[in-house]
């Protein structure tokens, strides 16, 4: 049940009516959220529901034990149990085949003959998101930053809440639980923002699907691309992944708003970042802050072995995205960029300042270039494929002709990139939603574009993660 299908909106309309008109008590609403979310999740694969329920109930029970125990050793064991269970589930379903294949390749290279792995496992949708969300609850309870819930419905509702269940943003229990506790009445400003975000999200998803064509053409080809094709494809994927993921997030936030819940933003015009450090303050914020709070700081943060901690965090952040060495490489690449940026800023503090508009745009372009190179590693099927694209981008082939149709495609790709940032800025950085006479026509127009050009049922990229 994708956000860009009619079925989802039928489901949501029914859920909205039941939530606002048919339930009278907070507990009834909580159970409605749990039931609706499980139904939403079961639409993908009903076999995955027990896993979601199982991990969530285990964390609920562990958190309860944690809150009732004063014995630090026992508390540590309980926390370890939660982390092992969550990461175990994630590792088994998402990475077992990857590790088996990698071990098989490594042993083969060392001359050791072992049977080739042939098993395949079902990858439950959103497993990377909900395990992190669930785990953050037990960690917060262990740290005594959050009281454990006595009844399961509140926690189950927070973990399984359907807008963010399968592709984020990664919402920590500490964000949603207080909202489920209070159940604030719906406010009209929330509704206006919600509709605007839904419309902008649908428009972005439409742009993402249009950009998928040139991106797939580049990354699906086996021959060496010329410079124009390589840049067109790489920029198309750069636009596609932003439009796709931020579009999904916008819809998720919008849908939650219409139910009266506020989810934190996940993006902040990331391709306007002025440095790799700035980029990670604008891209997939829910993941980067999660990694910061639950991995980077416990590793020692800025205090001990800062650069090592950064590299480990980014490496694991890369691996979180998928079971492939290209993701690990992408994480390592961004880790190195962050280390280099911190070293440079440490040595030349003046780099932090931006003297002029030209300087600002030079920084933005430089960062954007580095990000695009990173996306090539991320999108390519293999390292040789990534190198082929990178070579195409940087080494012009003899006799490359800048024929108009290819140039026009590149211009459309750039326009798509700009449009996605422009609509995000319009939705979140302007007063548009306070001006009804502009707001509703804009919302209707965005929805109309999505209806006319949107590819129904085209998957969201982040579902695979």
């Amino acid at each position: 049940m994708l956000f860009n299908t009619a079925l989802f909106w039928l489901f949501f309309a029914a859920f909205f009516v039941a939530f606002h008109f048919a339930t009278r008590t907070r507990v009834a609403r909580l159970w409605l959220v749990v039931g609706g979310s499980l139904l939403f999740y079961a639409a993908w694969d009903v076999r995955c529901v027990p896993l979601l329920l199982g991990t969530a109930l285990l964390d609920f029970w562990i958190a309860l034990r944690l809150s009732r125990s004063q014995d630090e050793r026992r508390r540590r064991v309980l926390l370890a149990l939660s982390i092992v269970a969550n990461l175990g589930v994630l590792g088994f379903f998402k990475y077992a085949r990857f590790f088996a294949d990698s071990a098989y390749g490594l042993l083969g290279a060392l001359g050791v003959t072992v049977p080739e792995p042939t098993f395949s496992l079902l990858l439950p949708a959103g497993i990377s998101f909900y395990t992190f969300q669930s785990m953050s609850y037990t960690i917060d309870v262990y740290r005594r930053e959050l009281p454990a819930r006595e009844r399961p419905e509140e926690f189950l509702a927070a973990v399984s809440f359907f807008p963010h269940l399968v592709a984020g943003p990664i919402i920590r229990a500490s964000v949603l639980l207080p909202q489920f506790e209070k159940m604030e009445p719906l406010r009209w400003e929330q509704v206006q923002r919600g509709y605007l975000l839904i419309a902008v999200g649908l428009l972005k998803k439409t742009v993402a699907d249009l950009l998928a064509g040139p991106a797939d053409a580049l990354f699906g080809a086996t021959n060496a691309p010329d410079v124009l094709a390589a840049w067109t494809g790489a920029l198309a994927f750069t636009g596609q992944i932003y439009a796709d993921f931020s579009g999904y997030t916008d819809i998720a936030i919008g849908v939650a708003l219409l139910l009266g819940f506020v989810l934190p933003p996940n993006f902040d015009l990331p391709y306007l970042a002025t440095s790799p450090i700035d980029f990670w303050r604008r891209w997939h914020l829910s993941l980067s802050t999660w990694l910061r709070d639950y991995l980077y700081i416990p590793l020692g943060g800025n205090q001990n072995h800062r650069y090592r901690n950064l590299l480990i965090t980014m490496l694991l952040g890369g691996l979180w995205h998928g079971a492939n060495w290209t993701f690990v490489l992408w994480g390592l690449y961004h880790g190195l960029l962050l280390v280099a940026a911190h070293v440079l800023v440490g040595r030349y503090p003046a780099l932090k300042e931006t003297a002029s508009t030209a300087g600002l745009w030079a920084k933005r372009l430089g960062t954007f270039y580095l990000v695009v190179v990173g996306w090539v590693l991320f999108r390519a099927e293999s390292l040789p494929a990534a190198l082929r694209v990178l070579e195409g981008m940087h080494v012009p082939a003899a006799g490359s002709a800048f024929a108009w149709p290819e140039v026009r495609t590149l211009l459309f790709v750039v326009a798509g990139l700009v449009l996605c940032h422009a609509v995000s800025a319009l939705a979140e950085k302007t007063r548009l939603r306070q001006r009804s006479f502009v707001l509703w026509p804009v919302v209707a127009a965005c929805m109309a574009v999505a209806m006319v050009l949107g590819m129904p049922g085209h998957n969201f990229i982040y579902f695979q993660f």
């Binding site: 639409a43 009266g260 149709p405 919302v443 209707a444």
Partner: protein, 413 residues
């Protein structure tokens, strides 16, 4: 909070109202844009992008009248029939007074064919008549697993399903796949138009725009695609001059035949057909057919085969005689592997067994020749100048022989 406050409920009600209003406004804008696009596009181009949707709509309008005829010969199938069968030639060649119809529709899969066949059968049942003969063409590569998975084909088929869907069928689809049913409903709301059609049309319009004068790199002097398009434009102009009427996609005057070949267009048609019969055109087309439809290996989709059997049964129930037809194959390009042939043979045996309808297999008929001056316009379709009349006459001969009557003196196409 124990119960929602009245103001919260009021806001929720307002939210719902605004949502419905937005949906209606967006739908209005979307349909307005589609209408504008349709009106500002030449009918032939629109037909090409809508892939037979309007042809199907036109046929459904004519169906009640067709069902009143006792002498109807229904030749039912895919675009292979659409391009490969001439009712007029068939009637002229057969020594029996019949009224033949070309019921070939492009971009359909057996599931759509089953829906359409049921609609035809219901209409004939209501009229109390039966068709004199029904020939049901089976296109093997349209019933493969690969074809069922190819998004573009699925979407084209969905548009036709949306056209043919009645509430009962929609409910049946919803039981099987709520996602598909809701998608079909959405297509219906968009006036049976898919975003895929709009996108391909907009793409073509953009790519048709000339290179701006300020761009320093000029296009090559000879552009193969434009060259072929010029022939097509001449053929369209020639047809307009010859017909002197608006020819609908399913033309009741020609009983469904799509005719491009007239004295005014013959030389252009032949040039165009020859320009398409080159290795450079046919090789990629074959590769595409193999990738999208598994044309040579033919791994059949069980469900699609079942739908085809349903279609045959439905049509046979309202026809005095029925045959399943396997169209002539372009042997230069379409050469199924031994495994593919074996799979096809097994499916044909199954169709015969489960429907009690005999198969007329013309796939290896030597009289249909490939090549530049042969009978095909591409890897799969017969051409209008030679292949179409040849097949129409051949079908007439087969049936005449079966009925023990002679064929009429041939009339040159």
């Amino acid at each position: 909070m124990t119960s929602p406050s009245p103001s919260s409920t009021r806001i929720a009600a307002r939210t719902l109202g605004v949502g419905i209003g937005l949906l209606l406004a967006a739908l209005g804008l979307a349909r307005g844009f589609i209408t504008y696009l349709e009106r500002s596009t030449p009918p032939e181009t629109w037909a090409q992008h809508s892939e037979g949707r309007d042809r199907l709509v036109g046929f459904l309008e004519a169906l009640p009248e067709i069902a009143q005829r006792k002498d109807a010969v229904l030749v039912f199938g895919s675009s292979l029939i659409q391009h490969g069968f001439s009712p007029e030639t068939f009637e002229q060649h057969l020594g029996l007074p019949v009224t033949a119809y070309n019921l070939g529709f492009p971009g359909v899969d057996p599931e759509v064919q089953a829906l359409l066949a049921r609609r035809i059968a219901n209409t004939f049942e209501k009229s109390g008549h039966r068709a004199r003969l029904t020939l049901v063409e089976f296109t093997p590569f349209q019933a493969t697993v690969a074809r069922a998975r190819w998004q573009r084909f699925r979407e084209l088929a969905s548009v036709k399903k949306a056209v043919l869907m009645d509430p009962l069928t929609l409910a049946r689809v919803a039981r099987r796949s709520p996602e598909e049913a809701s998608h079909l409903g959405a297509l219906r709301l968009l006036g049976n138009t898919s975003p895929l059609m709009v996108k391909s049309l907009v793409d073509e319009r953009i790519s048709d725009k000339p290179v701006p004068s300020w761009w320093p790199v000029r296009p090559p002097a000879f552009d193969e695609t434009k060259y072929r398009r010029a022939w097509v434009a001449s053929i369209h102009a020639g047809r307009a001059a010859a017909e002197r009427r608006n020819v609908p996609e399913w033309d009741p005057v020609r009983r469904g035949e799509v005719r491009w070949l007239f004295d005014e267009t013959r030389s252009e048609y032949d040039s165009w057909a020859r320009s398409r019969n080159t290795w450079l055109v046919l090789k990629p087309e074959l590769q595409w057919r193999v990738a999208s439809s598994d044309m040579l290996e033919l791994h059949f989709d069980e469900e699609q085969v079942r739908f085809f059997i349903e279609a045959v049964r439905a049509l046979a129930s309202v026809s005095r005689e029925t045959r399943v037809v396997l169209m002539p194959r372009n042997r230069a390009w379409n050469q199924p592997t031994p495994e593919g042939r074996a799979r096809l043979a097994a499916v044909l045996t199954r169709i015969t067994r489960e429907t009690d309808v005999r198969v007329l297999d013309l796939s290896d008929s030597p009289e249909f020749r490939p090549g530049e001056f042969g009978d095909f316009i591409d890897v799969t379709h017969l051409n209008e100048s030679r292949g179409r009349p040849k097949l129409s006459r051949r079908l007439a001969e087969v049936m005449a022989e079966h009925w023990g009557i002679g064929v009429a003196r041939d009339v040159a196409p």
